[in-house]
């Protein structure tokens, strides 16, 4: 699988392999615009769920199929989208459900990292590292969008 290393912006912060921050930002902003345009009158809760899905979607699409966690997220998103189109509501895709208090820490980690179940320990740690990296980048991105949005009501 060829990783994308070409980057229009030679940004020193960009990892050599993996999604460029610009690409993730682009995808996320585009998704946000779509949410805003297609559901201007929906409730804050519904829109918030869509934004959350958009966040996980842009993370996963940018990472592509090279990672187990992004594959699992993409599968989940498509699966839930199909269910949503056929049936009624379903909870936000891509978000792990059912916080567990009775599992071992390793099992808990497997449930938290998408695609983690059934993975050997070494791979699980690899995936965890990449997932944490992309997740914290996503958080920083969303924070900067919120910050540039200015004070409410401007």
């Amino acid at each position: 699988m060829k990783s994308s290393t070409r980057n229009p912006n030679p940004n020193p912060d960009t990892p050599r392999f993996g999604p460029s921050k610009l690409m993730v930002a682009f995808r996320f902003l585009r998704a946000l615009t779509l949410v805003h345009r297609t559901a201007p009158n929906s409730s804050n809760a519904a829109r918030s769920r869509r934004i959350q899905r958009a966040a996980f979607a842009s993370m996963a699409y940018s990472a592509g199929p090279r990672r187990a966690w992004s594959r699992a997220l993409l599968w989940r998103l498509h699966f839930h989208r199909a269910r949503r189109l056929c049936a009624g509501r379903s909870r936000a895709a891509g978000v792990p459900r059912r916080p567990s208090t009775t599992r071992s820490p390793a099992d808990e980690l497997r449930r938290l990292v998408p695609g983690g179940t059934g993975m050997d320990y070494c791979s699980l740690l690899e995936e965890t590292a990449d997932y944490i990296r992309c997740l914290s980048e996503q958080v920083k991105l969303m924070q900067s969008v919120v910050d540039s949005g200015g004070p409410r009501g401007r």
């Binding site: 804050n44 590292a129 958080v139």
Partner: protein, 85 residues
């Protein structure tokens, strides 16, 4: 593929532990230099959960922002021109 979880060597456990520790941000790494792999796993899980909560929280803040945003605002225009839509 059978699980090898119960047969990890001591050396592998140490490698695991240092790898897990390196995943945590500085703020969470402080007390983790001499804890068990199990504790590190728990801390990693707690960190991931807090990241999920942040995404959740930022999503609702973005949603609030959106409700105050007009479609014809200068910011929207800029974003539209960037995205070419």
């Amino acid at each position: 593929m059978s699980s090898r979880r119960s047969r990890i060597t001591g050396k592998e456990i140490n490698e695991l532990a240092s790898k897990l520790r390196s995943l945590l941000p500085e703020s969470r790494r402080r007390n983790m230099s001499r804890v068990s792999a199990s504790k590190l796993l728990k801390e990693t899980c707690s960190y991931i959960k807090s990241l999920h909560r942040e995404v959740d929280d930022l999503s609702s803040r973005l949603s609030d922002l959106m409700s105050t945003m007009e479609t014809d605002s200068p910011q929207a225009e800029i974003i539209r021109s960037i995205l070419g839509s």
